[in-house]
């Protein structure tokens, strides 16, 4: 069994190596400036993700939201008998959270807003936003932070962001609007959705086990 697994693994790695060995020549990249200019972007990857392949991104967002709902409902079905012990606070973590929270959130906003001009975009911005919330949760305790930021209304913001993304994408795909403003709007909404979804996952896992 192990021999079979090793043989098929070596075959897979050999296939991967054959793909890049030069047997199959890579086609030259066509000029992409026109595509980027048509969608109002300077970052060609943003023009592809939010323009040419917007359907793909829409279904990716839907899959992400559905998985977040699955995690939430799945962990809600489990009843935990033991009480969750509170995380002990340390002054070092609280001070550094005070110091770092503002720059992290501002950087996430910058990455989201300037995603069509340079490296960045909605998904990394959402990940950075989730990291900021994780830092706050480590400093304050998960349940306290969840009560302070009022999580049910935060989830309504997430669902509203999905609906708004669908509306803006309808404008881009069906009505044929183009321009940088649409890309900025979609990026900011994606950042909201991904950041809040990451926070939901962190909160559910942490409150199921009592550890962050």
């Amino acid at each position: 069994m192990r021999v079979l697994a090793a043989l098929s693994l070596l075959g897979l790695m050999a296939l991967l190596a054959l793909g890049v060995s030069g047997v199959f020549p890579r086609p030259p990249v066509p000029p992409t400036e026109d595509v980027a200019a048509e969608w109002g972007a300077e970052n060609v990857v943003a023009a592809i993700v939010l323009g040419v392949r917007l359907w793909d991104t829409l279904f990716e967002i839907l899959i992400y939201a559905m998985t977040m709902v699955g995690v939430k409902l799945g962990l809600r079905l489990l009843r935990w008998e033991h009480a969750v012990p509170p995380v002990r606070e340390t002054p070092l973590l609280r001070r550094s959270a005070d110091l770092l929270l503002g720059p992290i959130v501002v950087f996430a906003l910058y990455i989201a807003v300037s995603g069509h001009l340079g490296p960045g975009g909605g998904f990394p911005a959402g990940a950075i936003l989730g990291t900021a919330l994780l830092l706050l949760a480590l400093a304050k305790g998960v349940e306290r932070l969840s009560a302070e930021i009022h999580e049910p209304s935060l989830e309504w913001v997430e669902y509203g962001a999905i609906v708004a993304i669908l509306a803006v994408a309808g404008g881009l795909l069906v009505m044929g609007h183009r321009g940088s403003g649409y890309l900025i709007a979609v990026n900011v909404l994606i950042a909201l959705e991904v950041g809040i979804g990451a926070w939901v996952v962190l909160h559910r896992f942490a409150s199921s086990r009592g550890e962050v």
Binding site: L9, L12, E42, N43, F205
Partner: protein, 119 residues
């Protein structure tokens, strides 16, 4: 051939991940292996986007040919879906551990053949 180190690392990561996915008996180890293999696939796609002497695919960032922007867009999808499916799979592993008190795949299959023990 440029980018050889990235390609070699990507193939090694994919091999390591799939080896853990196939051989290990613990479900958490299997999920970790799947995640490492996905990292290898992502690095492989990024290495495929490379062209000799290429610049990043951003307009106005200097002369020279642009790197292929399409694999970069695919990688964005891959990273997000990888995170989401890993979270959901971990929830299922938590379910199994709570109800069957094991993460061993062979023991789960043995219990399946015998009929599950009544809690």
């Amino acid at each position: 051939m440029e980018g050889l180190a990235a390609v070699a690392l990507a193939i090694a990561l994919a091999g390591l991940g799939f080896w853990n996915l196939v051989v290990r008996r613990n479900l958490i180890w299997k999920l970790l292996g799947l995640n490492v293999a996905a990292s290898g696939a992502i690095l492989f796609l990024v290495a495929l986007a490379h062209r000799p002497g290429a610049r990043p695919p951003i307009v106005g960032l200097g002369p020279g040919p642009s790197a292929d922007p399409l694999p970069h867009a695919l990688v964005l999808t891959a990273i997000v879906i990888d995170f989401a499916t890993l979270a959901l799979a971990l929830v299922y592993v938590i379910f199994l551990t709570e109800h069957r008190h094991t993460q061993d795949v062979e023991r789960l299959e043995r219990d399946e053949e015998r009929g599950w023990p009544q809690p």
